[in-house]
């Protein structure tokens, strides 16, 4: 039962997690490097808004706009049911169904990472090695990519690793709103029915996922900043 539901949740949360990390970092970097300008103000307001929106409400509004009004995307579900499809058609179909739930789930975390990244960029920007780089005549884009980003992203990775669990938790709401047949829904139903064995099973699976993601975070740390490696302290 759990294994049946796990892929759907991993697909949804994984995509949302990566999307929020990539977009959040990008937005935060843009805002941070242009601190004080209008684009910074704009991104800051947007991220604040996204952060403040309740996930289920955002989901419902997205459905109203993109499914009911515009009719571009399916409002809920995992895939079109009862139609035979080739593998590629099936993939395209699932991708279509994923857009709205992924966006709703990613929005909040995207906002958090963007704000974190922005302040981190502003802080790192004022450090000596950036001035040195600039004095050496390194181009601005090189400075951002090679020096700023690598140093500024560490707090984002820390928080992201800790929040991986919360993303899985947030899936409960999103999966309910979008009728997504994943673990989040299963835990919701299990709570309502007092199905303790199922709940224990889900907690176990979720713990494993969170631990796995934390290990991954550690590995990413070392890649981004080799100084953190334990072996290097001698």
């Amino acid at each position: 039962m759990l294994l049946e539901r796990l892929p759907a949740t991993l697909l949804l949360t994984g995509t949302a997690f990566i999307l929020s990390l990539v977009c959040g970092t990008a937005l935060g970097t843009i805002a941070g490097t242009r601190a004080g300008k209008w684009s910074d103000t704009f991104f800051t307001i947007v991220s604040l808004l996204l952060y403040a929106l309740p996930v289920f409400w955002l989901g419902l509004m997205l459905v109203l706009l993109f499914s009911v009004q515009l009719n571009w995307l399916p409002p809920f579900g995992y895939a079109t049911i009862g139609v035979e499809m080739t593998t590629w058609q099936r993939i395209a179909d699932i991708a279509q169904h994923m857009v709205l739930p992924t966006l709703s789930l990613a929005a909040v975390y995207l906002a958090i990472y963007a704000r974190l990244m922005r302040s981190s960029i502003i802080e790192v920007k004022q450090q000596d090695f950036i001035k040195t780089a600039r004095a050496k005549g390194v181009t601005e884009s090189q400075i951002v990519m090679r020096h700023l980003l690598r140093n500024a992203i560490l707090p984002v990775i820390t928080v992201a690793g800790m929040q991986a669990g919360a993303v899985v938790g947030g899936a409960v709401v999103v999966e309910t709103v979008f009728a997504w047949p994943g673990l989040g829904r299963l835990i919701y139903d299990a709570v309502l029915q007092r199905d303790y064995p199922v709940m224990q099973g889900i907690f176990l699976v979720m713990s494993v996922v969170v631990i796995g993601l934390n290990l991954l975070t550690e590995a990413v740390y070392r890649m981004v900043d080799p100084r953190i490696s334990v072996g290097s302290v001698k």
């Binding site: 459905v63 499914s67 009911v68 995307l73 399916p74 995992y78 049911i81 709103v177 309502l192 029915q193």
Partner: protein, 531 residues
């Protein structure tokens, strides 16, 4: 509704695939004729199993109705019409019931259905697994099959409502060759759900959908009309409304659509709405009072509560007009209803006078008494009802204090009499002897059993009349007895009857024959078709 961009794309996709695979999907056929098509609808909540003989959760009964058929069906006036049985007769003494089955009925595994399967289901399976079928079918003294298409039941004593208990939610027929000698509840075949109805289970993706397809060997010529039914699991109320509005689902039933959305969706040009098809269940909404504890043990207090609630406002404001004010224990949709009973109009003054007479005088803050109220944990609607009742009762000085719990806790508390007040929705099940008397007769005061006489009402005269009415053989006599008992019970007010709740069934205008009997959406759907 015109074809939108996405549907158009899908059509192209489907057409493309059909040509690639070389399958004649027959798009031209689906456009004009009445055969074929897919009915997409909702199951809410997702059932735990599909075998309606074993689980009687609402959604199990709805989906199971397509898979498992029964001997009879019932028209809107609850008169029996042929199901698996093409004819039936009752002996004059009311003891022998003979059913003639249709020929060529087969189960989904291809094996024929005979009188043996009927007898096995009624006398072996249902009395063990089906709580509300048990007291009915244990009245069978002997069951015989003189030939494979004839079933004869002999009862221990006359029981008039017997013929009213053969619908597919009470008496579904299961295959003997699969269940004989096994533990019915854990039989692995339960996952395959093998019945004899017009649709069989193809696939069940938990959390997503249940996919039923046509049973090719169905005994009724030309049925089923449609090829497949897809029950989608959509847990969110707003998403269910969107699905209906958008045309993703063509049918909704029971509580799929929230009351406040009904008026808006009814206006949509592509939808039809009816509240018919729930007559067999006739859900009765009431405020249950524990008659064992003060002040609910005083008839005057119960009458005061009855007077204090503006049930018309409850119907209009909370239920958006979907229902009717209940006047007593028997629903006006059920047989043997009596309308000439004591009327409790909305009158806070009468309520206050009764409370004064009891000696419950208002304190400095206007409150006379505080009573705990167990909020029924079956969704937002019950919460709103509770808030309405709190406001109403506060006006006459009765302060009810909410207590929260989950479904399991609620059942435990109510069935063990550990409550003061709560709301409940109870089905009447076609006949007062089956669905009504259980709440009021003292022999059914059984601790730990839900839907028994949990209020603890006991009146020897009511007991006698209910018992006589159940065994009387003529309808006139029964009406007389039920009329008498309704007058007594309404005077005593063991329970504060609120509403005969209506449920909306929405269908796409192109979908026909959905609501044809008193069990509505639980019906087999063999005759359902698109035009």
């Amino acid at each position: 509704m015109g074809m939108n961009r996405r549907e158009f794309g899908k059509l192209g996709l489907a057409a493309g695939m059909a040509s690639v695979a070389g399958i004649p999907l027959g798009l031209h056929r689906a456009a004009g004729q009445t055969r074929g098509g897919t009915l997409s609808t909702i199951t809410h909540p997702e059932p735990a199993m599909l075998v309606s003989a074993i689980s009687q959760l609402q959604s199990t009964l709805t989906v199971g109705g397509k898979i498992y058929e029964s001997l009879l069906r019932y028209d809107f006036d609850l008169k029996p019409i042929p199901g698996l049985a093409q004819s039936w007769s009752v002996s004059p003494d009311g003891l022998t019931y003979t059913f003639k089955l249709f020929p060529n009925i087969t189960f989904h595994d291809g094996k024929p259905l005979t009188a043996d399967d009927v007898i096995f289901s009624m006398t072996k399976i249902l009395p063990e697994t089906h709580a509300r079928a048990r007291p009915i079918f244990t009245r069978i003294e002997s069951a015989e099959a003189p030939d494979p298409l004839t079933v004869v039941f002999k009862l221990k004593s006359p029981f008039s409502p017997f013929l009213g208990a053969f619908d597919c939610t009470t008496a579904p027929i299961l295959p003997k060759h699969i269940y004989e000698g096994t533990d019915f509840k854990t039989n692995p075949a339960n996952d395959k759900a093998i019945g004899c109805g017009p649709f069989k289970l193809k696939e069940w993706v938990r959390g997503s959908h249940i996919h039923l397809i046509k049973h090719e060997g169905y005994y009724r010529a030309g049925e089923p009309h449609i090829d497949e039914i897809i029950y989608r699991v959509i847990p969110d109320a707003a998403a269910r409304s969107v699905a209906l509005e958008q045309g993703t689902v063509k049918l909704t039933q029971w509580s799929d659509i929230e009351q406040y959305d009904v008026a808006r969706l009814t206006k949509l040009p592509h939808l039809d709405m009816t509240t018919k098809g729930y007559e067999y269940f006739a859900p009765h909404l009431w405020l249950e009072l524990n008659n064992r504890i003060a002040p609910m043990n005083d008839k005057r207090f119960r009458q005061a509560v009855m007077y204090a609630i503006d049930r018309k406002a409850l119907l209009q404001r909370v239920y958006f007009g979907l229902g009717k004010i209940a006047t007593g224990p028997i629903s006006s949709k059920t047989r043997f209803y009596e309308k000439n009973v004591k009327q409790y109009e909305y009158s806070p003054d009468k309520a206050k006078a009764l409370l004064d007479e009891m000696g419950l005088k208002p304190g400095a803050d206007g409150k006379r008494i505080t009573v705990p109220f167990l909020v029924t944990p079956s969704g937002e609607l019950y919460r709103r009802v509770a808030e309405f009742l709190r406001q109403s009762l506060l006006r006459v000085g009765i302060d009810i204090q909410f207590e929260g719990t989950d479904v399991a806790g609620w059942i435990q508390k109510v069935s063990n009499w550990e409550y003061s007040m709560t709301t409940n929705l109870v089905y009447q099940l076609g006949d007062p002897a089956i669905g009504v008397s259980r709440t009021y007769i003292s022999s059914n005061i059984r601790k730990g059993i839900m839907f028994s006489n949990t209020a603890g009402y006991a009146n020897p005269e009511a007991d006698r009349l209910f018992e006589e009415a159940a065994t009387a053989t003529s309808d006139e006599k029964r009406q007389e007895l039920y009329s008498a008992v309704q007058k007594i019970v309404v005077e005593d007010v063991p329970i504060v009857w609120l509403l005969e709740q209506d449920f909306p069934t929405f269908t796409d205008k192109k979908l026909k024959n959905v609501t044809t009997t008193a069990i509505g959406v639980h019906e087999t759907f063999g005759a359902v078709r698109f035009e």
